[in-house]
């Protein structure tokens, strides 16, 4: 047996909201994580002692903010395995959705032509699906899906059948926000590159749960949201291979992203500034850096191990409930963060509504993945998601809440 004790919780004290609401079972971290005190304090610290517009630093405060942002770029580049020396390939924006839109709207048109194909998986969050629908419509290209089996696994045959000479872009969730499975990104990237295509990864659900290395994944673009990895709302990250960021046009234009402007034309700044039009959320970026430092201090490998134990315990308790229909892999070790399910004959909103009355926070609905749920033969489901700051008592509460649902609906 593992040495990790999920009945004790050395992390809860780091999270003011969790510490002040001991009765709350927060099982919705896949939607947004809780923030540790150091991140909340960083925002306060920024506005009290550092606040200035980071416009290329013409005075002391502004220079400091510019340095703080560059330092966060370095932390993030290191954090996702891109290497600190490549910090300038880290682009800040609002969230993973915006990061993916940069790729779909600014990069895709440079490689997509009529009759080409973009390949995504059936388990994409709408944020990595609708941008590609739109990009394909504009280019006259075809959107092709990689389908999974009922456990959420995409076979090698499926990838070989769908990724071919017509494929120009493959884009996939690293970890599914519904099924919790990790997709075979490295293999997809290999097939994409063999066919002259580019690999885009939506890392929103992987970065908070496991060590990520974009070099090992072999991808060309990688996007994630700061708020899912314990940072403040409003900061997204796009990493891209330097030569691609260099050659593609900007997404938004305006202030801060130009080197020179005449009446009729403008010269773009090099990346990352080229993709960061307008004043950035400097405080948010600074606090995101603090969040990354915190995550590294806890250790992503330690988080992953603890979450695996939590997931095993959750699966064991849920399996004992006769009225639970599991959505996704039967093997709890195949899940990172997300555990989706249905209560037989009870609509997910009724489940979440009743659980809410018992101070248990889960997500219910289509999880911004409607094509996946239709593919799985359902409209909606419930999702409990764990982070390293959860413990066994959260899961016990969930199970008690579900037993109440079962009694109320006579299932």
């Amino acid at each position: 047996m593992s040495s990790i004790d999920i009945t004790s919780n050395p992390y809860k004290k780091d999270f003011p909201l969790l510490a002040s609401m001991p009765d709350l079972a927060f099982l919705d971290s896949a939607a947004t994580a809780q923030r540790p005190a150091c991140v909340i304090e960083a925002l306060d610290h920024f506005y009290k002692t550092m606040n200035a517009n980071p416009l290329r630093g013409l005075y002391e405060l502004s220079i400091e903010v510019t340095e703080a942002i560059d330092s966060t770029r370095k932390s993030i580049a290191r954090f996702i395995g891109a290497g600190e020396e490549n910090a300038r390939d880290i682009i800040f924006n609002r969230n993973a959705s915006e990061a993916l839109n940069i790729v779909a709207q600014a990069f895709a048109p440079t490689v997509l032509e009529e009759g080409d194909e973009v390949c995504i998986t059936i388990m994409e969050h709408h944020s990595n699906l609708i941008p590609w629908q739109q990009a394909c419509k504009k280019a006259g290209a075809k959107l092709v899906y990689l389908y999974c089996d009922k456990n959420g696994f995409i076979s090698d045959e499926e990838m070989q059948a769908k990724i071919g000479p017509k494929t120009k872009i493959v884009s996939a969730a690293h970890v599914s926000n519904v099924l919790g499975v990790t997709n075979p990104i490295a293999r997809m990237a290999q097939l994409a590159h063999e066919n002259g295509a580019y690999m885009v990864v939506d890392g929103a659900q992987s970065v908070p749960h496991m060590p990520v290395d974009v070099t090992e994944l072999g991808c060309d673009f990688f996007a994630f949201s700061g708020h899912k990895v314990f940072g403040p709302f409003g900061v997204g990250v796009l990493w891209g291979k330097h030569e691609l960021l260099e050659s593609m046009p900007p997404f938004l234009t305006g202030g801060e992203m130009i080197d020179y402007v005449s009446e009729q034309d403008a010269v773009w700044s090099p990346p990352p500034e080229k993709f960061e039009a307008g004043t950035q959320d400097a405080a948010g970026i600074y606090a995101t850096g603090v969040a990354i430092d915190y995550a590294e201090k806890v250790g992503l490998a330690a988080m992953e191990q603890r979450e695996r134990e939590l997931m095993r315990y959750l699966a064991e308790r849920m399996d004992a409930l006769k009225f639970i229909e599991v959505v996704g892999p039967a093997d709890p070790d195949a899940r990172s963060g997300a555990y989706s399910f249905n209560v037989t004959g009870v609509h997910p909103h009724d489940v979440s509504g009743i659980l809410s009355g018992e101070n248990i926070a889960i997500r219910a609905g289509h999880h911004c993945a409607q094509p996946l749920l239709l593919f799985l033969g359902m409209h909606t489901c419930c999702r409990a998601s764990v982070a390293f700051y959860n413990d066994a008592s959260d899961i016990d509460k969930l199970v008690e809440g579900l037993e109440l649902v079962g009694r109320m609906f006579n299932v």
């Binding site: 609509h347 909103h349 009724d350 509504g353 101070n359 409209h379 909606t380 109440l404 109320m408 609906f409």
Partner: protein
Amino acid sequence: MSNGSTSSIYSAALMDHNAHPDYRYELEDATHSHDGINASCGDELTLYLRIDDENDIIEEASFTGHGCAISQASADMMAGLIEGESVDEAKRLLGLFIGMIQGNELSEDDIEDLDEAAELQSISRMPARVKCAELAWRTLNGILTERETEK
């Protein structure tokens, strides 16, 4: 432990309408039908009405679709309320119900007129579920508004 407010909405009457709806079927000879969707939760509902145009009477009402117990029970209660009523009376009940869900105080007469649907009053304090309770009624509004513009 339970704060009560959420669970109390699941009254015996609501659970009964959800489990054994009287009006949940496709109306073959409907004169009007309209789809209602609740984008936030993916609930879908089709409301069918057979309206006698000469006398402006809703002769039959039914619904199909899928959704939570609140949306399904609310649809069943609504169909029961408006069936056999005049279009004007249905409009009046619609105004009463939406007003109630949005937090308006109801008179005793109003409560009586809304019958079991008045039990959904406490939903007005549960913003996440307001759309569920309103779905059928908003769909009814869609039909009646469309019918008026067609006239």
